[in-house]
Amino acid sequence: MSTSPQNAYPTPVPAVPRPGVRASVFHGKPPAAVTALPLRREPEVVVPKVTLDSISLSYRTTSGERLLALDNINLEVKPGEFLCIVGPSGCGKSTLLHLIAGLHQPTSGKVLIDGAPVTGPGTDRILIFQDLGLFPWLTVGGNVEFGMKMKNVPRAEREEKTQYYLRLVHLSKFKDSYIHQLSGGMRQRVALARALATEPDVLLMDEPFAALDAQTRDLLHDELERLWAETGRTIIFVTHNVREAVRLGDRVALLTFRPGKVKQEFSVSLPRPRHMEDTDVARTARNILDCLRSEINKSLEAEYADEKVG
């Protein structure tokens, strides 16, 4: 395979131990002296929307041993960027999102939003959970409205925005339905609307489309891309599906298995809109997948080992 004219190959960006000194997009081969480059190439200093500064997390397992889940993670996400985090199951991708959301605290290191440290949950970052966590006791409208209610947004404005965001995800007709009456794809869209309605700067998405059939997922990819373009939010999207990551992301960060570390970053500069079936997407994914393969093997080995012990 030769290099495609459209830069279908991902361009590897080696993980840098310290943040703040890395250009976000490289074309061609990574230069040997990475640290010297960014200042010359990008003179304007953009404060990253999200900065993960040497994040580590360890916890005690039920058997009492300490497990290092995340090991010295450094990542920067620019305002309006779509970052996808890929890794084998058990690499701590979800945990990383929980840390950014402020639901847990890292053992060491800092999460910064616009340069300011995160101390707890905040409506400037909304996480869409893997299991969605939609409230079954509320209607679709009630779910979308919930975050605004907690922010004490006046009722009239709340209703208006609920309508707006439901229209945005094509669910206006289902405002008064309950969650269990909806299909999986519709629930995903409710979760999306609920997150967007609090108007967060950063949208954190934890494998939101993993449980969906391919057609529904493709549709939601298109919608997410459109919403991202329309609202200009920063999105951090976690998935184990490399193709999905390439389909959606401006950049893909590859996490290693236990402890989770950023193994490599790839910038994806394929033209949008993209599709899962695009050959360029497939080829780019292929390359990242080769890199990921060794990590998946590690994760599988660990799982089998667990089974033997258990």
Partner: protein, 252 residues
């Protein structure tokens, strides 16, 4: 419709067998009264207001004792489920106390409160408090953690998190606990009333025995079954079904 038809046939058959056995006079009527004898006892009981008074007195005690145990049980359950220390100490005690039949509290209640209303309420309370507490505690534990996380993520905290997320999220468990608590309270109350001279249904039952009036005994038993069924089978089951529909927990 078919279900209703089958039920009608079943109960008619039951009544017919009862009537037949009574007609055959295998046992004397004062030990085995015919259905119409029990029917007459029911009519007379309501006619001289003794059944009405019995029902009113019993239901009043039930409401007071049960409300008390629901409120206290919920508070206790919340406390136990939110503190590791309480869970390990008080939690264990509560579970072991639950193995004590509530009627065992009667001697203690009589010595403490005398033959008074308070003693009856105490027995009802002890009978249902523990099951409400334990159900509440289980509810807090079994409630999917994601709701609390989603709530915090969307900006809820403190009391609002409790009120708008934790409480509704554990509602199915709470209702289940309340239903169990009702069943226990009902049993405890009737038992307690059978021992005290106290106007309630339990006492009417014992009065039937004292007068060797088997018809009245059966009539009161039927009343107790009907009242218990009305509350448990109709009120609680309806609430439960509504909740299950709403929360998407129902099997169909």
């Amino acid at each position: 419709m078919k279900k209703l038809a089958r039920q009608v046939v079943f109960y008619s058959a039951l009544l017919a067998i009862w009537a037949l056995l009574a007609k055959l006079r295998i046992w004397p009527p004062y030990l085995f009264p015919p259905p119409w004898g029990v029917g007459r006892a029911l009519r007379d009981g309501f006619a001289d207001h003794s059944f009405w008074i019995g029902i009113a007195v019993t239901m009043k005690r039930m409401l007071i004792g049960y409300s008390l145990s629901v409120v206290l049980g919920m508070l206790l359950g919340l406390a136990v489920s939110s503190s590791r220390f309480l869970e390990e100490t008080l939690g264990g005690l509560l579970v072991s106390l639950q193995s004590l039949p509530s009627i065992c509290w009667i001697p203690l209640a009589v010595l403490w409160f005398g033959l008074t209303e308070k003693a009856i309420l105490f027995v009802v309370l002890m009978g249902s408090l523990l099951s409400v507490t334990i159900a509440m505690e289980d509810g807090r534990k079994q409630m999917p953690k994601i709701y609390a996380m989603a709530g915090r993520n969307l900006g809820a905290s403190g009391f609002r998190l409790f009120w708008s997320v934790l409480l509704p999220a554990s509602l199915p468990f709470i209702v289940n606990g309340m239903k169990q608590g009702w069943a226990f309270a009902w049993r405890s109350l009737i038992q307690a009333e059978m021992i005290f001279l106290s106007l309630g249904l339990g006492q009417l039952l014992m009065m039937g025995r004292d007068l060797s009036d088997m018809s009245q005994v059966l009539a009161v038993m039927i009343l107790i079954i009907i009242l218990g069924y009305l509350v448990d089978g109709l009120i609680f089951r309806t609430i439960e079904r509504r909740l299950q529909d709403r929360y998407g927990l129902s099997p169909a």
